[in-house]
Amino acid sequence: MTVARMLPLIVATPLFGAAVLVGAGRRLPRAAAEVLGLLFAAGTAALALAASAALPSSTARPVEWVGGWRPHGGASVGIVLVGDRTGLGLATLVSLLVPAALAYAWRYFDEPPRRHAASFPALVLLFQAGMCGFALTGDLFNAFVFFELMGVVAYALTGYRVEEARAVQGGLVFGVVNSLGGYTTLLGIGLLYARTGELGLAQIGRALDARPGGPDALVIAAFVLVATGLLVKAAAVPFHFWLADAHAVAPTPVCMLLSGVMVELGVYGTARVYWTVFAGPGGIPAPDAHRALLALGALTAVLGAVMCWQQRHLKRLLAYSTVAHTGLFLIGLAVLTPEGIGGVALYVLAHAGVKAALFACVGVLLDRFGSVDEHELHGKGRELPWVAGMFGIGGLALAGLPPFGTALGKAVTEEAAGGWATALFVAVSAVTGGAVLRAGARVFLGLGSRPPGSPEETTGEGEEPETRRLLARIPDSMLLVPTVLLACALAVGLVPGLRTAVGGAADAFTDHAGYLAAVLDGRTTEPAPTPAPHWTTPGVVWGLLATVLAGVLALLAVQRPVRGEPVRWTVPLRRLHSGHVGDYVAWFLAGVTLLAALLV
């Protein structure tokens, strides 16, 4: 079977698994349902890995017209899947992280729905199918369909613990804001369809290129509207509000997937749509796209880092760290070169491992002690040395300790971005990594003093464990998964073959004309090669500096007495994150306006 033929199966396999689980659900005992879910998820991962391994080169673009609707003269009525190294690589990342999350959730939940033990693995399989489809499709409307599939399943997974009102509220906020994003994307697709009569990324791109000379209002509006939906998923400021609320309440294995891959798929979607549709002569001029992405990225990175430092609820802390890192990814995209894309790709790969591992550690704390509050847990983690080690290593990797893949990705991205971006990268890495280390030092080492209680804040005390009761002994699966994930993040920085593959993938990803020719004309063209991402001395030095800074920040923070009230200048910022859906909708519309203003 050719690589192209395998592409639809990467989507179909988890869907079939979900159907089997739901169909047999009432008769399946819980263990069988979980094994079956794991098998289908791992089978999909095997397919994706096999397809990746069978790619003839890192710049190859196997193209599959579903239903056999090959184009004639560049026109087709069908849907195309494109298995280039980037899309297939992301599908592989998703498919590897899903079995990891399912293994972590092994016999995890307190109360599976009565007679529906299979519903959690089935939902996760649907989530996997949505994410893989989104990564592989070469059709804008089809991308929207998979975007919605991801969304619908993610809302349900977020609100999974319905016994708690907060879980329902978090799922609802997530659903409202992401649905609004879906509507704007659909409006944007409608505008593009009205102009071009096409729905495929390559077809729309070619039709726009037939009318060169600056974009008119329709093209700008279409880009803004399509990108808004994707940036909501990516949690870029000011579309990011849903993320922390959802992460705070979602079950830990779901957080691993949301922060590890789903948010990054929003970044990927933005980049994919820009490079295939809008990067040609009829699209958005490069300086405008650069300005918009850079401004949003810098805003997101700074706000995410400031909010991250302020949190004591560990899941919210990690959630805001994801926001900050999304900002860094967007700055990398804004460079609009293969170097920037290559750096972001490596960063995303390693970040998925590190962030999922950190969430896994927090999940252990939640199920052992029934709390995710930094102060409440003070010193309690001493009895969990292995978890402590992983949490600490995760914090260091997040800050950019070489030779972790996060450090490599950061180094390559900041070098591509250049100038003040380096300072921003170091600062944001140090603050987000430092926040994790600070929490780790308090929880696992018992450093610093226990603070007085402050009832006004979202503290993370009094949370319900996600397991049947507080765990007396941590199951091996919950320790093994984060260990493997951290090892993978380390491997991203160390395996040289991965760097050359990512380099080629980035060259192909940013080759607008090459993508159009490969999809519509079946013509293979080699993109202009650029040097593959690699370790540089300045990159290592900046990474070490950020790590040291993170450590210093953490130590300073734990030595100072904890104040009951938040720092004064952050109060207005914290008030913006009110948990009020109406506020989030207002900011969403303001964000559309901001994005449009940045582009004209």
């Binding site: 579903v66 899947l81 409006l187």
Partner: protein
């Protein structure tokens, strides 16, 4: 965030978004033109495959992968509802009470039920020929069963509605669509290729795999809607919170 600030942000956002959208709409092609690149191609492709209803050809042949995604969205929504509306530890079930129904309502619903069911099945079966198809017909079929709730009471509906069976049917519809799509791989064609003979134009057996995929959707939608409504109705009629049981029983 204060009400004042909220309203200012909202006003700025609405104004900016509306301006952007209005300016974009001014650039749209004029209404009623003759330039329909996709439509022309889709009609041509539908006729070439002997599918009289072009929409069905787009849904189940030309863009069958979109339909798979949409079917999965419904499937995921039903599953998600099942999870979110489950009976939790602090809730319990009360058997539903028999209800009195006004005779005209009962007569109407009992007459409408078989007619609605028949129309639903007809709409599903003729998806490849006339407007409608699995999505629309499936909803009509599911609605017809619920007329029993209106005509008699919830216990009558529960008797013809073993939710477990409908869940299996829901999953079978989803799996069936995938299996028909994968069957094309055995013939050496791409996933979801229309590999069956196209048949005689404008007859029930025309369109190759279109009627089969359409039927799979019909089963999935009808069963999915029944399960979906069952969850909501259970919450409304049967499941009560343990704490407030005295109030709920009155």
């Amino acid at each position: 965030m204060s009400m004042r600030l909220r309203l200012w942000v909202l006003a700025a956002g609405v104004l900016g978004t509306a301006t952007l959208f209005v300016l974009a709409c001014a650039e749209l092609p004029g209404f009623g033109g003759t330039w329909h690149p996709y439509g022309d191609r889709a009609v041509h492709a539908a006729l070439a495959r002997h599918t009289a209803n072009t929409i069905a050809s787009v849904n189940f042949d030309q863009r069958a992968l979109d339909t798979l995604g949409e079917e999965s969205i419904l499937f995921g929504s039903v599953l998600g509802t099942l999870v979110l509306l489950r009976q939790t530890r602090d809730e319990r079930r009360l058997p539903p009470e028999p209800a009195r129904v006004a005779p005209p309502v009962r007569r109407y619903a009992l007459i409408a039920l078989p007619v609605t069911l028949l129309i639903g099945l007809y709409v599903v079966a003729h998806g490849q020929l006339s407007p409608g198809g699995g999505f629309q017909g499936g909803v009509v079929v599911a609605t017809s069963l619920h007329l029993l709730y209106i005509a008699i009471d919830y216990r009558a509906l529960e008797r013809i509605r073993p939710v477990g069976l409908y869940e299996v049917a829901d999953a079978a519809g989803e799996a069936g669509y995938l299996l028909i799509g994968a069957a094309a791989l055995l013939t050496g064609a791409a996933f979801l290729t229309n590999f069956l003979p196209y048949g005689t134009f404008n007859t029930l057996s025309s369109g190759g795999t279109v009627p089969l995929l359409n039927a799979a959707i019909g089963v999935e939608v009808a069963a999915g809607i029944v399960v979906l409504l069952a969850r909501f109705l259970d919450q409304a009629v049967e499941i009560v919170s343990g704490r407030d049981e005295a109030e709920d029983e009155t």
